[in-house]
Symmetry: C2
Subunit: 105 residues, 2 copies
Amino acid sequence: MLNEPMPVGSYAVTFTSRLHEDHSGYAELAERMDALVAKQPGFLGVHSVRQGLVGITISYWKDEASIAAWRADAEHLLAQAQGRAQWYAGYTVIVSKVERSYTWP
Amino acid sequence: MLNEPMPVGSYAVTFTSRLHEDHSGYAELAERMDALVAKQPGFLGVHSVRQGLVGITISYWKDEASIAAWRADAEHLLAQAQGRAQWYAGYTVIVSKVERSYTWP
């Protein structure tokens, strides 16, 4: 997934987060969400990296409707609420539209 | 930097990379580039996370002209060439335009 350009006009949802020191249970839920998001209509791919408590996850989507559907997914809503209650110290979501992309080599 | 929204209409440059196992000297150059990029006109901020050999760096820019200037910066050009010759197994660059963003809490 890492070495792949994304289509012009597709959307990137960038989720940067900081976890609490104690975030037991988080990895299991994150894994479950990774599996769930991959089945969403309009999902194009994901890049995710975590360094200690700080993580960046970028998911790519065909259109805004796909993003809205994922955001409102029932199991995902529960996970979001649990994340805010238990694991996240803070996060930022940035939605952007792909203008161009290229890979090397 | 992590918990900050970005202005609508600004640009995100997402750089995902995979290093070779032997990447000695890379950290020093990356640090130098971090210091250099922060002085560029139009630079708004950066999020960067590395997990083993895989990294995501997202830099935010006021406009396309700022991105073009940074891409063509002489010292940065040298670093890019050195990266391809010595350190990177592969990378993807995705340029996108910010549509909206929000933070929690």
